[in-house]
C-alpha cells in the first residue's frame, strides 16, 4: 500500500479518552474477485499510548510489565539480560524452538504477527497460544500504530522490504527506549533474530544487536538439545543435497492455475499407497459424483508430493498408461534399484488393466503435519544426519539432523518436514519432541492419538477462562426459565467407574393412573455459550474419546466430571424430556423443559439389576426402576416389531492391574437387562427431540441418519448363510431382523452370533447431517423415520447443538446466527462425522494395542476360533473368547506356497486337500510378532485341521505362560 495523505496532528475528543493522535490515510489497490481493480482508502491512526511492556520501564503507563526485569537466557553471545525480537521467517520456521520453555521474554511485533497470520494459520494459532501463556513472557507490541515506529512504504520498496524495515525500526526504538532505563553497560538490550542475510546486514549498520537464529540457539549454554529443533534453513539444505537433480522442478502457482483453467492439469488430493512407496493416486474431485483417480507411478512422477498434499497433475499420453502394481514395496533406502523395478512391471501390464496415469507437476498446498515415528540411526557413528521412518507407511522417510541419535534410538519421536529440495532423495525435517520409549504404554497411546488426529492437548488458558467460577451454586437467575424437579426420585444408571454421568431417569405414577417418565440430561449448553473459546474447542474436538483405561475429554474435567455430571445428592441443572405414558408404553403427552434435579442415587447396571430383582426392596428408587424396566421391555418389543436391528459385535473389556494399568485379563462385555432399559429411554428421548426440533426448524435441525446399505453389501452375508442352508432376506430391515432371528443351525449355538457379526459388517456408517441439506432422514438400524443425538452432551458436541435448538424451540434460550445457518451447520456436521470416525479408529487401535500387551505377557496361546471370511490366500479367524480377529496366511514368504484353489462362489478355499468354508471351526495358536517394533502384530497360525506343510504343531503353552508370569 501507499500512504499519500500526510498527517494532521490534532487533539481529538474520543468517547472516553483524550489522546494525541496522528491521522494517516492508507491507500492501496486491491483486485476483487471478479478481476476488477479497486482502490481502497483506509484510515490509520497513530498513537502515543502504546506501551513497551517491560517491567523496567517507568515512562510507559502500563499496569504491569509482561517482559521481565532480569530476562536471562544463558548464552555465549549475549551475557546481558535481553529481549528477543524474531522476524517473521524466524517465527514461521522456528516455531518449535520458540515454543520451548527456555525461550522467554520475546517481543512479537504486530508486523510479524500479521504476516504470520497471513501465511500460516497453524503457526499463527501456536503463536497466539504462546502469547497467552503467562510463563512465557511473550509481549505483542503494536508497532504499526505507534507514532514513533510506524513507517511508510517508500516508492519502489517491496512489501516484504517495508516489513523488514518496520521490524528494524521497532527494534531500534526498543533499544533506545530501554537504554534510558539501563543503569550501567550491561543493562537490558534487545536482540533481533533474523535468518535473512540482507536484513541482518542492514540491522547491523543501524547499530542493532542482531543474530541468526541458528547462531543464537547454538550459543545457549544450558540447553544444547534445542539445536535439534532448529528447522533447516536454506543454507543447510544446500550442504545436504548432492549436485545431481533427482526431481523435476515444480511449476510456479501462476502457471498451475493457468493450466488448471485451460484443462491441461488436474487438481486433486495426493494419496500415497500404503503398500508400495513408488505408487500413489491423486483423487480428483469432479462435479457432483463425478470424481476420478489418477495413478502416479515412479519416483520422478511422484515428484516430492507427500500424502494428503493438494497437487496439480498432468496426464501422460495414453500409451504410457500403466496398471497399478500388486507388489508390496517398502522403501529400504537403496535408490539404485528403483528403476529396474519399474521396467519389470511395465512388461506385465495388460491392456485392460491400464488406468489413467499422470505425473505431478506442482504442489498447490502442502498438508504437512508433524509425524510420529522412529529414528533409523545412521551406520556412521559420528554422523548427525539420520533417516526417520514415520509410523504411517504412506509418509516418506525424512532426513533429520540430530546430535542425540543414541538417546533417540528406540524412542517414538515427532518430526516435522521443513522442505524437499529437488536434489534430495528424502525430505528434510527437524526433530520436534520425543514421546517416550517405543512399546511403552503411554508412548503408544500418544502415538495413536496423534496418528488419528485426536486433539488431546490440555485445555488452553483461554478455554479454561470460560469455565464457571468455583464454588458454583445455582443462582435465582438460573431458576428463571427452569422447572424445579428436585423433589423427584431421579436416579442414574451407568457402567461402573463412570464419572461423566449425562443422563438420569425417573418414573412415577400419576393420579389419573398413567405413568410419568422423565429423562434428564445434563444441561451442558447452559455452561458452554455459543461462540466463545470453550465452545469452539468443544466443537473442534467433537467427541470425547474413550481409550482403554483413558478418556480424552471434549470439555474440561470441571464440567465433564463435576458440574455437568448428574451425580447423586447434588443439585444439577438438567434438560428434561418428560412423557406421560399409559401402561402399554404409549406416549400420551411429551414435554421438554429446562430443570433442576437432585439425583437420589447413581447406580451401576449391576446394582440397578439387583434392586429390580430383589423382591424385598420396595423403596421409591426401586419402584421407579421397576416401572422403567417394565416400560422399556414393551418399548423394545415395539421397536423390534417395527424392524429395528439387534446386531452384535463383540466388545472386549480389559481388567486392568490397578497399579501398572497393564491389562491382566480380557473379557467380553456382558449385557444386562438394565443396559437395554437405559438404552430404550435414551432412544425414545432422541426420537422425541428429533421430531420436535425438526418441526420447529425444518431447515437447520441437526439430525442423525443411517442409510440403508446397497443390496450388494449383503452378498457376503447371503453366501455365508447359504453355505449352512439358511435363507436371509434383506429386502427391508424388518425382513433382515426377522430372518436373523430364526437363523439357527442345530449343534452350532454360536452360528447366530457369527451371522449377526457378519451383518454388522454390511452396514453403512450412521452420520450427522443438517435437515436443510438432505431429504433422506431414515435411520435404518433403529427403524426410525427421524433420529438425533440428545442424550450425551458431555461427550458429544452434536448433542450440545441439539440442546441449543431445543432450548430455542421451547423458548428457554435465545438463538444466534450460526445455529440457523444450514451451510455452517453442514460444515460442523462434516467435522463431527470426521471426529467420530477417527475416535472410533483410535478406540479400535487402542483395543488392538492392549490386546497386544495382553498377549505379550501371556506368551503363546492356543484357542478355538471360527472362520469369518475366506480370502484368496488367507482365512480370517474370530476368537470368540477374546473378541479377537486375526488372519492366517497360507502364502508366507519363507515357506513353500501350498496349492491354493479359491472359489468365489462359496466362497471356499482349498489348501492342498482341505477345504475351508465360512463358519468352520478351527484351532489356532496366537502369539505377538514384535519383529517390527513400529508395527507389532498378532500372528495366528493354524493347528487344527492338520494340513501337512501348512499347519503348525501344537506348541507347548502352559510352562511358557507361567514363566512369563513369574518374571513380572
Amino acid at each position: 500500500y501507499k500512504i499519500n495523505d500526510i498527517a494532521i496532528r490534532d487533539t481529538l475528543t474520543l468517547a472516553c479518552t483524550l489522546i494525541v493522535i496522528m491521522l494517516k490515510s492508507k491507500t492501496f489497490v486491491k483486485k476483487t474477485r471478479s478481476g476488477k481493480v479497486m482502490k481502497i482508502v483506509r484510515e490509520h491512526y497513530l498513537r502515543d499510548d502504546i506501551w513497551c511492556g517491560s517491567e523496567v520501564c517507568s515512562e510507559c503507563k502500563q499496569e504491569s510489565g509482561v517482559l521481565q526485569k532480569d530476562a536471562c537466557i544463558e548464552s555465549n553471545l549475549c551475557s546481558y539480560p535481553h529481549y528477543l525480537i524474531p522476524d517473521t521467517n524466524v517465527v514461521l520456521h522456528q516455531i518449535d524452538v520458540l515454543e520451548d520453555p527456555v525461550i522467554r521474554n520475546v517481543i512479537i511485533l504486530q508486523t510479524v504477527l500479521q504476516e504470520v497470520r497471513h501465511r500460516s494459520a497453524p503457526v499463527y494459532k501456536r503463536l497466539k497460544d504462546m502469547l497467552h501463556e503467562k510463563e512465557k513472557h511473550f509481549y505483542t507490541f503494536t508497532n504499526e500504530h505507534h507514532r514513533e515506529t510506524f513507517i511508510e512504504r517508500e516508492p519502489g520498496e517491496s512489501a516484504n522490504d517495508r516489513n523488514d524495515r518496520a521490524i528494524r525500526v521497532a527494534a531500534k526504538w526498543y533499544s533506545q527506549h530501554l537504554k534510558t532505563f539501563a543503569s550501567h553497560e550491561d543493562g537490558l538490550k534487545v536482540v533481533l533474530l533474523t535468518n535473512d542475510q540482507g536484513n541482518k546486514q542492514k540491522a547491523e549498520e543501524s547499530g542493532l544487536l542482531v543474530y541468526k537464529c541458528e547462531e543464537y540457539v547454538k550459543s545457549l549454554i544450558a540447553n544444547p538439545e534445542l539445536v535439534d529443533r532448529l528447522a533447516l534453513s536454506d543454507d543447510d539444505k544446500n550442504e545436504i543435497t548432492s549436485a545431481k537433480l533427482l526431481f523435476p522442478e515444480h511449476l510456479p502457482l501462476s502457471r498451475i492455475q493457468a493450466g488448471i483453467k485451460s484443462g491441461c492439469f488436474l487438481q486433486g488430493t495426493f494419496r500415497a499407497s500404503r503398500d508400495n512407496y513408488l505408487e500413489a493416486t491423486v483423487f480428483v474431485q469432479g462435479e457432483g459424483e463425478d470424481s476420478t483417480e489418477v495413478l502416479i507411478q515412479g519416483l520422478q512422477n511422484l515428484n516430492r508430493a507427500v500424502h494428503q498434499d493438494v497437487v496439480a497433475v498432468q496426464l501422460l499420453p495414453r500409451n504410457e498408461w500403466v496398471a497399478p502394481t500388486s507388489v508390496v514395496l517398502q522403501d529400504e533406502g537403496i535408490a539404485k534399484d528403483d528403476d529396474d523395478n519399474e521396467e519389470e512391471e511395465e512388461k506385465a501390464v495388460t491392456e485392460a488393466a491400464r488406468r489413467s496415469t499422470g505425473k505431478i507437476v506442482g504442489i498447490i498446498k502442502r498438508n504437512w503435519r508433524p509425524f510420529c515415528g522412529m529414528l533409523n540411526v545412521s551406520q556412521i557413528k559420528e554422523s548427525t544426519r539420520h533417516l526417520f521412518t514415520p509410523a504411517d507407511r504412506r509418509i516418506p522417510r525424512i532426513r533429520i539432523e540430530t546430535r542425540q541419535a543414541s538417546t533417540l534410538a528406540g524412542q517414538r519421536i515427532i518430526v516435522a518436514i521443513d522442505g524437499w529440495p529437488k536434489g534430495s532423495r528424502y525430505p528434510n525435517g527437524h526433530f520436534v519432541r520425543s514421546l517416550g520409549g517405543a512399546g511403552e504404554k503411554e508412548t503408544e497411546e500418544e502415538v495413536l492419538l496423534l496418528e488419528h488426529d485426536v486433539p488431546h492437548q490440555a485445555f488452553s488458558q483461554a478455554v479454561l477462562s470460560f469455565l464457571p467460577k468455583m464454588p458454583w451454586a445455582i443462582t435465582p437467575e438460573d431458576m428463571v426459565m427452569r422447572e424445579d424437579l428436585r423433589q423427584l426420585t431421579v436416579c442414574s444408571v451407568d457402567p461402573p467407574g463412570c464419572t461423566d454421568i449425562d443422563d438420569a431417569l425417573h418414573c412415577r405414577d400419576l393420579e389419573n393412573g398413567n405413568l410419568e417418565v422423565g429423562v434428564h440430561i445434563a444441561d451442558v449448553s447452559h455452561f458452554i455459550r455459543p461462540g466463545n473459546a470453550l465452545d469452539k474447542e468443544a466443537a473442534s474436538r467433537g467427541t470425547t474419546v474413550y481409550l482403554c483405561g483413558k478418556r480424552i475429554d471434549m470439555v474440561p474435567a470441571l464440567l465433564s466430571s463435576d458440574l455437568c455430571s448428574l451425580r447423586s445428592n447434588v443439585e444439577r441443572l438438567a434438560f428434561s424430556c418428560i412423557w406421560e405414558m399409559n401402561h402399554d408404553a404409549e406416549i400420551l403427552k411429551t414435554r421438554f423443559t429446562k430443570s433442576v434435579i437432585n439425583s437420589k442415587a447413581s447406580l451401576t447396571y449391576a446394582e440397578a439389576q439387583m434392586r429390580i430383582d430383589d423382591t424385598a426392596k420396595n423403596d421409591d428408587i426401586t419402584k421407579s426402576l421397576r416401572g422403567l424396566n417394565k416400560l422399556a421391555k414393551i418399548l423394545k418389543q415395539k421397536r423390534i416389531e417395527k424392524g429395528a436391528l439387534t446386531l452384535s459385535s463383540i466388545e472386549v473389556r480389559f481388567h486392568m492391574d490397578s497399579e501398572t494399568h497393564d491389562p491382566i485379563d480380557l473379557q467380553t462385555k456382558e449385557l444386562m437387562e438394565t443396559n437395554s432399559m437405559v438404552e430404550e429411554f435414551m432412544l425414545l428421548a432422541n426420537i422425541s427431540v428429533a421430531q420436535k426440533i425438526y418441526d420447529e426448524f425444518s431447515e437447520c435441525a441437526l439430525l442423525r441418519k443411517h442409510p440403508a446399505p446397497p443390496p450388494s453389501n449383503y452378498d457376503i452375508l447371503l453366501k455365508a448363510a447359504k453355505s449352512k442352508d439358511v435363507e436371509i432376506y434383506t429386502d427391508s430391515a424388518k425382513a433382515l431382523a426377522d430372518s436373523l432371528d430364526v437363523a439357527k443351525v442345530d449343534g452350532f449355538p454360536y452360528f447366530n452370533t457369527l451371522l449377526r457379526i457378519l451383518a454388522t459388517r454390511c452396514m453403512m456408517q450412521a452420520v450427522y447431517f443438517c435437515s436443510g441439506m438432505d431429504s433422506d432422514f431414515h435411520h435404518y438400524g433403529l427403524a426410525s423415520p427421524i433420529y438425533t443425538h440428545f442424550t450425551s452432551p458431555i461427550r458429544r458436541y452434536a448433542d450440545i447443538i441439539v440442546h441449543r435448538l431445543l432450548a430455542v424451540a421451547i423458548g428457554a434460550d435465545s438463538t444466534y446466527p450460526e445455529l440457523m445457518d444450514k451451510h455452517k451447520q453442514s460444515a460442523l456436521c462434516n467435522n463431527l462425522n470426521y471426529r467420530h470416525k477417527m475416535a472410533q479408529y483410535a478406540q479400535r487401535a487402542s483395543v488392538a494395542f492392549h490386546t497386544q500387551l495382553f498377549f505379550k505377557s501371556r506368551g503363546i496361546l492356543n484357542e478355538d476360533g471360527y472362520i469369518l471370511f475366506v480370502k484368496k490366500n488367507a482365512i480370517i479367524v474370530l476368537i470368540p473368547k477374546f473378541g479377537l480377529e486375526g488372519t492366517v496366511f497360507f502364502d508366507t514368504k519363507d515357506k513353500t506356497i501350498p496349492k491354493l484353489v479359491f472359489d468365489e462362489e462359496g466362497p471356499t478355499l482349498n489348501v492342498e486337500q482341505h477345504t475351508f468354508r465360512i463358519f468352520d471351526k478351527v484351532k489356532v495358536t496366537i502369539r505377538l510378532d514384535d519383529s517390527n517394533i513400529q508395527h507389532q502384530k498378532i500372528r495366528m497360525a493354524l493347528i487344527n485341521p492338520v494340513i501337512p506343510g501348512v499347519s503348525v504343531p501344537v506348541p507347548d503353552v502352559e510352562p511358557q505362560a507361567k514363566k512369563q508370569k513369574l518374571d513380572h
Binding site: 490534532d10 481529538l12 475528543t13 474520543l14 468517547a15 472516553c16 479518552t17 493522535i21 491521522l23 490515510s25 476488477k36 479497486m38 482502490k39 481502497i40 482508502v41 483506509r42 484510515e43 490509520h44 491512526y45 497513530l46 498513537r47 504486530q110 504477527l113 500479521q114 497470520r117 497471513h118 501465511r119 494459520a121 497466539k128 502469547l131 497467552h132 505483542t140 503494536t142 504499526e144 500504530h145 455459543p530 466463545n532 435465545s814 438463538t815 444466534y816 446466527p817 440457523m820
Partner: protein, 245 residues
C-alpha cells in the same frame, strides 16, 4: 486466509482505534449562504453535506399538509464518486429511499414541529465520501444544519453505529468493519434526556448482548454530542464576533 482481524488481542482495531474510540470528527456550519441552514461533517473518511430549507409553506401537493405541526421532508443521496466503484444511481434507489425515511423519522422525533403548523421543513443530505456509518454521519450533519437554520429542536440528535466483535462492542464502525460480517446497530439519541430517536439493526445478535450494545451506542452518541456542541459554540462565537464588530 480468513478475513481481517477486527479486534486484536491487544485491543486495537484495524485502523488503530480502541473499541470505544470514535473516528476523528470535523465539522463546519453555514457552508452555503443561499440555504437556510447547512453543515459539512466528516467522521473519519465518511463525509457528508447537509442542507436545510424552511420552515416554509407547503410546496407540491397540499394534501400532505398537517394542521398541527410541520411536515419534515428528507432526501438522502450519495454522490456518484462517493464509493470505491462509481455509483450508477445517486438517489432514488431502494436503499436511499429507506435511508430518507429513517432520517425523516429521526428528525420528526427531535424537531419541535408543533411550532410550525401547516408548513414544511426540507432536509437534504448528500454523502460525498462513504466509509461506513453513513446513516449516523447524515444525522449528525443534518443536526448541525437544522441548528444553523435556527429551527428549534428538543436536543441535539446524535447518531452512532456500534458493532459487536469477540464479545466487545466497537464504536463507530468504518467500512472495513461493517463489511467484515459484524452485527451492527445504528442508534440516534437525544443525549440529554437519553431518549432514543431511532434504533436500527438488521443483523442477528444474541439477545443477551443487545443491552450492552445499546449501552455502548449511547456512550458513543454522547461522545458525538460533545463534539457537535463544541462545533456549534465555536460557530456561534465566530458569527457573533463578525456581527458584533
Amino acid at each position: 486466509m480468513a478475513g481481517l482481524e477486527l479486534l486484536s488481542d491487544q485491543g486495537y482495531r484495524l485502523d488503530g482505534r480502541k473499541a470505544t474510540e470514535l473516528r476523528k470528527v470535523q465539522a463546519r456550519m453555514g457552508v452555503f449562504a443561499q440555504a437556510d441552514g447547512s453543515a459539512y461533517l466528516e467522521q473519519g473518511n465518511t463525509k457528508a453535506l447537509a442542507v436545510v430549507y424552511g420552515p416554509h409553506e407547503m410546496r407540491g401537493s397540499r394534501s400532505r399538509t398537517l394542521h398541527d405541526r410541520a411536515v419534515i421532508n428528507c432526501q438522502y443521496s450519495m454522490a456518484t464518486f462517493s464509493t470505491a466503484e462509481r455509483k450508477r444511481r445517486p438517489h432514488g434507489d431502494r436503499k436511499s429511499t429507506e435511508m430518507s425515511l429513517h432520517l425523516k423519522q429521526t428528525f420528526e422525533a427531535a424537531v419541535m414541529t408543533q411550532l410550525y403548523p401547516r408548513s414544511q421543513i426540507d432536509i437534504y443530505v448528500k454523502i460525498l465520501q462513504s466509509d461506513g456509518g453513513n446513516y449516523s454521519v447524515c444525522v449528525n450533519a443534518a443536526t448541525l444544519a437544522v441548528i444553523d437554520a435556527g429551527i428549534p429542536m428538543r436536543d441535539y440528535v446524535c447518531a452512532c453505529t456500534v458493532g459487536f466483535v469477540d464479545e466487545t462492542p466497537l464504536a463507530d464502525l468504518c467500512y472495513a468493519e461493517e463489511s467484515g460480517g459484524v452485527s451492527s446497530l445504528a442508534l440516534a439519541l437525544l443525549p440529554r434526556g437519553g431518549q432514543i430517536a431511532l434504533l436500527q439493526m438488521d443483523a442477528r445478535l444474541h439477545q443477551d448482548h443487545l443491552e450492552t450494545l445499546i449501552e455502548a451506542a449511547m456512550t458513543a452518541c454522547k461522545g458525538v454530542s460533545k463534539v457537535l456542541d463544541d462545533v456549534v459554540r465555536q460557530h456561534l462565537q465566530e458569527v457573533s464576533m463578525l456581527t458584533g464588530e
